[in-house]
């Protein structure tokens, strides 16, 4: 029997293909059950008008019981959004990706939450500890124990 992560991700993928993604979210790649990429755009009036970001999801065999490792991609094409909870290396400080992760969330659910986190941003700035964090950050954001900046995301 396939592991729990592949069973669940197969269903999520099927749903994305049959029902499509919410507005502003697109599947860039999902060729296996270890890593998916999605693009993210904030619709309507926001600080991020005209900007397109990309999210990288990495899954452990225990997904969705364990949270996926989620970060904004920083490549030639994509930049990390300037946001008080997003570091310049793309790591995100959001409790739903850490201590408040719940298997009720899905890949699309996480994208929607991050989309609304960006949409509600009032001022584009980096977290105060950005430079220090980025210098020593692990490759996988799940290895960081974030001190959540606030509990609204």
């Amino acid at each position: 029997m396939a592991g729990i992560a592949s069973r669940r991700l197969a269903k999520e993928l099927k749903e994305i293909h049959t029902q499509g993604c919410p507005v502003g979210i697109q599947l860039l790649s999902a060729d296996n059950f270890e890593e998916w990429h999605l693009s993210l755009e904030v619709m309507g009036d926001s600080q991020y008008q005209g900007e397109v970001f990309a999210l990288k999801f990495r899954f452990e065999p225990q997904y969705p019981i364990s949270a996926p490792a989620v970060q904004f991609m920083v490549t030639d094409k994509y930049k990390s959004p300037v946001h008080p909870h997003v570091y310049s290396n793309g790591h995100i400080c959001a409790s739903i990706l850490g201590t408040e992760w719940s298997p009720v969330l899905s890949v699309i659910g996480v994208c929607v939450t991050l989309q609304s986190m960006l949409a509600s941003c009032k001022k584009k700035e980096r977290p105060p500890d950005n430079d220090r964090y980025v210098r020593h950050a692990p490759d996988n954001p799940k290895q960081t124990r974030f001190h959540y900046h606030d509990d609204t995301v």
């Binding site: 019981i65 408040e100 719940s102 298997p103």
Partner: protein, 262 residues
């Protein structure tokens, strides 16, 4: 988690209460007194779980299935558990959970319960030791825990008037909406259960259980048993959990696993 500390299994074999008592003998006399009280009430054994925040759900789930396994009429107990669980699925949907979110977890719990009477692919029906093995396997065990969390959440979310007056942030004491409470303190993995979650889960599963509070606070060693959903009569062995500050285990009226028969 400190990787260097060897971890307790997710759920362990039954050990005599004397093992727990020994841990308090050089420390708290009032805990020792309360342990002796429990032994005098014939709770002579304890099945311990890992202190990972899922211990209430895991203890309850294990004992929930074990009671079906030990039922005088297993086929009937399996049937009644499955029909209660099947009937709860519309409540999960009404609470806003997509089938995609709960069906794999439900399948796992349903399969364990059905295996009490129906052999699985390996042609074996469930035994006490296979049940323990299943609950020590993280994928199986955690799937069952997640399903019970979703049931608990759905029970609260679909009956907000009943629960809203009791939903408070456990640290800040501020009132919370059912949605906030469930997202943060019921559905999230590793979040400890409190009275509200326990009440909701007892109702969702249509079972009664009690929790013995071992808190070291009673002068004469008396232990309070708090009953949940006590009107329900199911003809099964009692389901009794042991609470110590911040942790739940299963209380047993025997000091070791049942011998394997046949």
């Amino acid at each position: 988690m400190d990787e260097a500390v060897p971890q307790r299994p997710l759920i362990d074999q039954i050990v005599p209460m004397a093992v727990l008592r020994a841990e308090y003998e050089n420390g708290s006399a009032s805990f020792v007194k309360q342990i002796d009280y429990l032994v005098a009430q014939s709770f002579t054994g304890i099945r311990r779980t890992r202190g990972d925040g899922d211990c209430f759900y895991r203890s309850l789930a294990f004992r929930y299935v074990e009671r079906i396994l030990n039922s005088p009429d297993p086929a009937m107990s399996v049937g009644s558990a499955i029909s209660t669980l099947d009937a709860s699925l519309p409540m999960l949907e009404a609470a806003g959970f997509q089938p995609l979110v709960y069906e794999d977890f439900y399948e796992t719990l349903g399969a364990i319960i059905k295996r009490v009477v129906q052999p699985d692919d390996s042609n074996a029906t469930l035994t006490s030791s296979l049940l323990l093995e299943a609950f020590q396997n993280p994928e199986v065990s955690n799937s069952v825990v997640v399903f019970l969390r979703l049931l608990t959440s759905a029970q609260i979310r679909t009956d907000p008037d009943e629960y809203a007056p009791f939903l408070f942030h456990p640290e800040l004491g501020e009132p919370m909406t059912p949605r906030e409470f469930c997202e943060t303190f019921v559905e999230a993995v590793g979040k400890e259960a409190d009275h509200v979650q326990m009440t909701a889960l007892a109702r969702a599963l249509k079972i009664n259980f009690s929790v013995a509070y071992l808190d070291g606070r009673s002068a004469d060693g008396h232990v309070d048993f708090v009953k949940f959903n006590e009107d329900v009569e199911d003809g099964l062995e009692p389901l009794v959990l042991l609470y110590r500050p911040g942790h739940y285990d299963v209380l047993e009226k025997r000091t070791e696993e049942l011998p394997v028969v046949g």
